[in-house]
Symmetry: C2
Subunit: 234 residues, 2 copies
Amino acid sequence: MPAAEPAPTGVRARARIEVRAAILAAAAKRVAGDGAADLSLRAVARDVGMVSSAVYRYFDSRDALLTALIIEAYDSLGDFVEEQVESTRGRPAAERWVDAALAVRRWALEHPNDYALIYGTPIPGYAAPDDTVASGTRASRALIGIVRETDRLDPIVSHHIEPVLAESFVALRKELGLDVDDATTLAVITAWSQLFGLLTFELFGQTRNFVSDDEALFRAAATSMAASIGLPMT
Amino acid sequence: MPAAEPAPTGVRARARIEVRAAILAAAAKRVAGDGAADLSLRAVARDVGMVSSAVYRYFDSRDALLTALIIEAYDSLGDFVEEQVESTRGRPAAERWVDAALAVRRWALEHPNDYALIYGTPIPGYAAPDDTVASGTRASRALIGIVRETDRLDPIVSHHIEPVLAESFVALRKELGLDVDDATTLAVITAWSQLFGLLTFELFGQTRNFVSDDEALFRAAATSMAASIGLPMT
DNA sequence: GTCTATAACGAGATAGAC
DNA sequence: GTCTATCTCGTTATAGAC
């Protein structure tokens, strides 16, 4: 699990990695079908052709298996968004934001079960350990990177912000390496929640009764997010 | 389920209603503990002290029971928000919006399992019938009612909106009895998705690593939503 | 040392006979 | 309706194979 070592090349190690991947793949398939709450170590073991106790050589517990699945999903999304953000470096910030948002959406549509796993209802009886945090923030950090790399933001309307909130913003900006004012910080957070809120609505079926073209709506929303943050269009 | 009749007053009918309520309460408790995916008619029956076959006299299937639970949750939220919106009639629209948004949040915090049931990951193998739509849109309609009852909206920045999207907005506005332009329509939709997006993040644990005061953040976000829609502050 | 299989536990749900 | 046998679950102890 640490993966800290430089990955030994022996046959033993190779086999281990492959079996681990096979277990994860089978578990992902199970989650896709029955939902994460029902994930059973035994069923996964059966699918891979091993005995349940053997799985414990690879994962300490059912929760550890779930955690690995969650981290894998976060990293898949993180890879995808980071790559997208990087590939648009130099382009106007507003465009970059919209493209990155669309990338998040594309990933979510291609991996609906992974999306549900990480952004859906928490699994009863499962508490995510801190291991997930690093991977879990990659997509958000990539999006915020666009703001960070923008020299001069357009002016935006600023609202009054409570002192408690302003204080927490200071810590947050430090964490993210952001150098913007409180209004922009709030705009970034609301844009972020809007992006995933809209996506959650779409994927979980909340929009299907009145939205005919989800992508068009999402693109329009992303554009308005970029403007609300003050990302320049040129 | 229909509840269309004027509720007969006989003893028989009373008993039936009470048993129904007892079953629903037990089912809700189960959902709260194990998650909706695991809901088993038998378990619910046992909790209420009857045999599984008897439950079928009250609910046609497990899915019908789930549907009843979902409708109940939607109506609980709908009642709460509608009452809140009504009680602030006459006050400045921006204030009304913020108060209504806070009402949604309060309800969600008090009924986290109901919230997860209706806005969380879809239950594997369960398809919501159209019966849920009427109740499911009540909260949104109540929020939008604030916009509808506002005589003169403040001007907002307008973005370009794709023709496909503009066309779907026409139908949506007609459905909602709204008389606003495309930019405001988009602003309402993005505000709506932002509201529930932020709430979903909070309830599902996505904010707990960097937000210290969720209510303050939510209030600030709601205020900026009201402004983005152009709801006047006075 | 590393892995897998057998067997078993206690808990919980389920199915069927009565 | 009840009781009972049977199943699955997560997890561990143990013993043998590479």
